[in-house]
Symmetry: C2
Subunit: 190 residues, 2 copies
């Protein structure tokens, strides 16, 4: 095994960036939820690491390799994927500060085409969107989201659309964002 | 869309690290293969970004956020996953300089337990192992690899084991590491 002498191994550190800082609460809660699912052997779902372009690395003697220059990259895919009940599952999660609409600028084009593509290959695909000021978290099926984005001329999705087309994910203490409960209803119940 | 004013957006830069540097040739060829599969809409498979812990980020005026301190993390999962013929697919890829055996130290414990777990959930899971000096690339089913690792007291797997238990992936110009050809034979042919 490769050793990490600085002890950074399993530690979690909140990235100190406005970009990564947005949506951290939701991200943290989804992380707890995924850890719960994993612990119960219900699903194996991970967040992908933040993509960075590494430009320079220092190797100080007797300590860990230190990245001294790197830049954030635009992700090619969604943030989360894995396997649930034998099926491929794929989703994106976003927080939204507005209490009237969700700005489409917060989802990258790459991510929309990725969602469309995985749906056509038979994936369980969706977005988790939280209106932070309203404390409401929605599960939106990817096919509905993609179809809305492809047909609208607007730059945001009104809250009313979510109320009509999405599913609210109620808060749960053990699994704060219990999205698999919705997946079960949509994909595995008759 | 978030803008990346330094133009680093889609650029690929080879990480200048001994850790990430190992296995770059195989990684590059798998990248080309995955891009080919994606282009033909045959499969949607990506390499996960290298996991790093970001400690410090600078925001120079009028230019991109620059990560000035970060460290490599031990990955929790394998490097590659996605969807193929409706199924979840998951694999790890490693190069090996020895021409007699593959050192088990190059696969993390986390990765072995991850492979075991996804197999139990019905994934297509395997490892791609290349003996660089011999120019032979093997497809090893995860269940065989995990079972070997769990029962052996050795610290490496001899080449002869691969010759008996693994499948050679022949080189292909368009898709240099055409592993789906083996997947088809193992999972989709009668």
């Amino acid at each position: 095994m490769i050793k990490y002498p600085n002890g950074k191994k399993g530690s979690y550190e909140k990235p100190k960036t406005s970009q990564s800082g947005r949506g951290m609460e939701l991200e943290k809660e989804i992380g707890l939820t995924n850890a719960y699912y994993l612990d119960k052997d219900r699903a194996i779902i991970y967040k992908k690491p933040t993509p960075v372009t590494i430009v320079n690395v220092d190797y100080p003697r007797r300590s860990a390799a230190k990245i001294t220059e790197a830049y954030f990259k635009v992700p090619s895919t969604t943030d989360y994927n894995g396997i649930y009940r034998g099926k491929y599952i794929d989703f994106e999660a976003k927080e939204c500060a507005s209490n009237t609409s969700f700005p489409l600028s917060s989802i990258h084009e790459h991510q929309v085409s990725h969602l469309k593509r995985v749906v056509s290959h038979g994936a369980i695909a969706f977005a988790i969107i939280r209106f932070t000021t309203l404390s409401i978290t929605y599960y939106v099926e990817a096919k509905k989201l993609v179809s809305y984005i492809e047909t609208t001329s607007k730059r945001s999705i009104p809250l009313s659309w979510f109320q009509e087309n999405a599913y609210e994910i109620p808060y749960n203490y053990l699994k704060p964002v219990d999205y698999l409960n919705i997946v079960d209803q949509l994909y595995f119940e008759e």
